[in-house]
Amino acid sequence: MELLDKLAILSDAAKYDVACTSCGVDRQAVKGQLGATTAAGICHAFSADGRCVTLLKVLLSNACAYDCAYCVNRRGNDVPRATFTARELAELTIGFYRRNYIEGLFLSSGVLRNPDYTTEQMCEAIRILRDEYGFRGYIHAKAVPGTSEELLVRLGVLVDRMSLNIEFPSETSLKALAPQKAKEGIVRPMGFIRDGIKANYQDKRLSTVRRTRFVPAGQSTQMIIGASPETDHHILKLSAGLYQKFELARVFFSAYIPVNRDPLLPALSEAPLLREHRLYQADWLMRFYQFDVDEIIDAEHPMLDPLIDPKCGWALNHIDQFPAEINKVPYEMLLRIPGVGVRGAKRIAMARRERRLRFEDLKRLNITLKRAKYFITCNGAFAEGVLFDPVGIYNQLVADARGRRRKGVLDGQLSLFAEPEADMGAWGQAANVSPTWSAQALAAAGKSAVVPPEVAAQGARLLAAS
C-alpha cells in the first residue's frame, strides 16, 4: 500500500481524538539535534472544522482486535485497514516537522493483537525518532488500556504526554459500549503514570546524572459526551475528581458523533457540540478562574444552561455579590465577572493603580463590555442603559448570544467550537433534562423568569418548567 493511502486511512481513523495539544513542557534546543518544545504549544494550522492542528495525529494501526460500539475501527466494521511500520511513521514525522507543519507526533493505535504488542510497536517508532533522529519535539502517546507496567515505563520515558481515555463518564456505560476495556485496565495505569511522574520529581533531587524524565508534560484523558445518559453534573464532578485524584493536566470532552449504528447507541440528529462547549467553559472556570465545581453546578439542577455560559449563570445565581466596582473589588472578584478573562482582569488590576477607571478606559484596555456591563460599576455608576435586574439580564444575555450565533460570531477565548442553535432534541438526549440551572435558581429566589417571545421558541420548555 502507498504511504499516502496509509496516511489517509490512519489519520481519518484518529481524527475523533480531540486531545491534540502540544503544551506543558519547555524543552530547549540543543546544538546538533532537531527540535524543541514551548510550554504554551504552537498551533500550526486550523482544519476546516476550526480545530487546531499541532501534532501529526495518527493511529499506528486501525486493525483493531476490539469491538467498541462507538468506534469506527471496531473489529466488526468493514473499513479499509492499514498499519504503519515504525520507520515510515518516524520518517513522516521528521519530514513534516522540518517543514514547520507540526510540533510533533500524537500516536495512538487500535489494539494490534494485544495491548502489549501494540505498545511495543509504538515504542519502537518513538525510539527511532528520539534515538536515531535525536528528535526533541513533542510526542503524545495514547496508552492502550491493559498494557503492562513495564511497557508503560518504556513508553513514558520516550514521550512528553501520555493519555488513557476513560471513554465514558461511568463504568456502566463503559461496560455496555466498550466491553473489552475494563475500568481497571484504564484506571490502574492512570494511577501508575501519576506515581511515575511523582517518583520522577524525587529522582531529580537524588541524582545529578543525565536522566530521562517520565511523562514531563503530564497525562490527560478524554470522555465522549452524549452517547450515554450521564448528566453534566455527573461529568463535571467526575472530571474534578480526576484532576484531583490523578493530577491530570487536562480532561477533554468529545461530542459524540455517530459513526456506527448500534442498538446501544442513541440516534442523535447532530453532534451535541453546544453541550461540549458549555462543559469546556465550566472546565475552564475550574482550572483558570478558581471556581469550585459545586459553585458551577449542583445535583438538583444537573444540566448546564445551554442558553448562557456558566460564568453568567453563576453570576446571576449570586447576584448579591454584584455589581462589582471595577476600581475596588479584589483581583479574585475581577476574575469572576462574566466576560472578563484572566488577561482582562490582570490588565484592570494594573491600570487602576494609575487612575480611577471609567468605561472609556475599559474599552482602551480591550475589555469587551458586552456581558460585563451588566455586572459592573465604574466609580459607582452603571454603564449607560443598564438595568440591574437579574431576570432582565438573563433574557438580554440569551437574546445577545442567539444574535451572535446567527451571525456566526463566536464568544471570546473559549470558542474553539461551533455553537449551533441550541437544539433541545439533541441536548436532551442525555437524560430527562431538568429545568436549566440559572432559570430555576432565579425562580427559587422568588423572581419569576419572564420568557420573551424570541427566547420562548428555544428555551420555553425549560424555563416554564420551574
Partner: protein, 272 residues
C-alpha cells in the same frame, strides 16, 4: 500660533533613537518622527531632517535599558518593526512619558500614550506569533529549506532565533516578500539580507511528495460534522493562506511558480 513641526529620519532604528535623543536634548515635542516615505506634505507642518548619530542612539538605548529594563527596550524595537505610520511619534511620546515616570509607568495601560504603544506592540507580537505558526518550509536542491512570507510587520528579525534553535541542523531562509528582507541561517548563525528578489534552485524531488502527504493529512483530520469555516478563519486569517501549501486549492497544487533572481543568498548557503 507656532507652526507644528516633525522630525525626518532615515528609517533605521538608530535614526529613530537619534531623533528621540534630539527631542530630549532640545526639550522639544515634535508632532511626529517620520521617514521620507511616510512624509505627508502639509502646509501646517514643517519637517526638519535629522542625521543619524550612532553614539546618540546608543545613549538612548542604554537609557531605556537602565531605566526601564531590557524587556522594555525589546518592546521599543518591536514597535519600530511595525508598519504603522505613526510609530515614530508613538515611540517618542511613550519614552517621554515612561522615562520621566519610571518603570512602573509602563503598566499604565489606560494612559493614552501607553495605550497607543501597547496597541502597536500587540499587533507586531501577534504577527510574529502567526509566523511561528504558519511559516512553511520547502526543501530546495542542495538542502536549503525555504519559506516565503508576507507579514503585516517586518517580523523576520523577531522569529529567526526561534527557528534557528529548533532547526539548527538545517540551513534555511525566510524571505519576507513584503518588506524585502530575508533571514538566512547556515546552521551556525543567522543574518539578515536586504533582498528584493531571490533566484532559487528548484525544489527537491521529494518535496512534492511531502506536500501531498501533508495536504492529505490536513484535509482528512477535519470532521465533517463539525465544519466551521468562520472559526477556522478567525484563528488562521485568509491572508496567510497563499503561502501555506495545504491551503492551495487542489487543482493548483504542484504548479507553483518560484520566486525570482539574484542567487547570492541561496548560493552562499549551497554547496558549490
Amino acid at each position: 500660533m507656532s507652526v507644528a513641526f516633525s522630525y525626518l529620519y532615515d528609517g533605521t532604528l538608530e535614526g529613530l533613537l537619534s531623533a528621540v535623543f534630539t527631542a530630549f536634548q532640545r526639550r522639544e515635542c515634535p508632532e511626529d518622527i517620520v521617514t521620507e516615505a511616510g512624509l505627508q506634505e502639509s502646509l501646517f507642518v514643517s519637517y526638519e531632517p535629522l542625521s543619524t548619530d550612532l553614539e546618540q542612539a546608543e545613549r538612548v538605548q542604554a537609557g531605556i535599558v537602565n531605566k526601564l529594563g531590557p524587556a522594555n527596550y525589546d518592546n521599543v524595537k518591536r514597535v519600530f518593526l511595525s508598519d504603522d505610520q505613526r510609530k515614530g511619534g508613538i515611540i517618542l511620546r511613550y519614552l517621554q512619558y515612561t522615562l520621566r515616570q519610571g518603570p512602573h509607568s509602563c503598566t499604565h495601560l489606560a494612559n493614552p500614550v501607553v495605550h497607543d504603544f501597547e496597541e502597536v506592540l500587540s499587533v507586531v507580537s501577534k504577527e510574529a506569533h502567526y509566523m511561528l505558526q504558519f511559516v512553511r518550509f520547502a526543501q530546495l536542491e542542495g538542502g536549503v529549506f525555504f519559506s516565503r512570507i508576507e507579514p503585516k510587520a517586518s517580523v523576520v528579525p523577531l522569529i529567526m532565533d526561534h527557528f534557528a534553535e529548533r532547526f539548527n541542523v538545517q540551513p534555511f531562509m525566510i524571505h519576507d516578500a513584503r518588506h524585502q528582507l530575508t533571514g538566512v541561517f547556515d546552521t551556525q548563525k543567522w543574518w539578515l539580507l536586504d533582498a528584493r528578489e531571490l533566484q532559487l534552485p528548484e525544489q527537491t524531488s521529494s518535496e512534492d511528495e511531502f506536500q501531498s502527504l501533508w495536504q492529505c493529512f490536513f484535509d482528512t483530520v477535519a470532521i465533517q460534522e463539525r465544519r466551521n469555516p468562520t472559526c477556522q478563519r478567525n484563528f488562521m486569517p485568509k491572508r496567510f493562506w497563499g503561502n501555506m501549501c495545504e491551503q492551495i486549492p487542489a487543482q493548483l497544487r504542484h504548479r507553483r511558480p518560484q520566486t525570482t533572481t539574484p542567487t547570492q543568498a541561496a548560493r552562499q548557503l549551497l554547496p558549490a
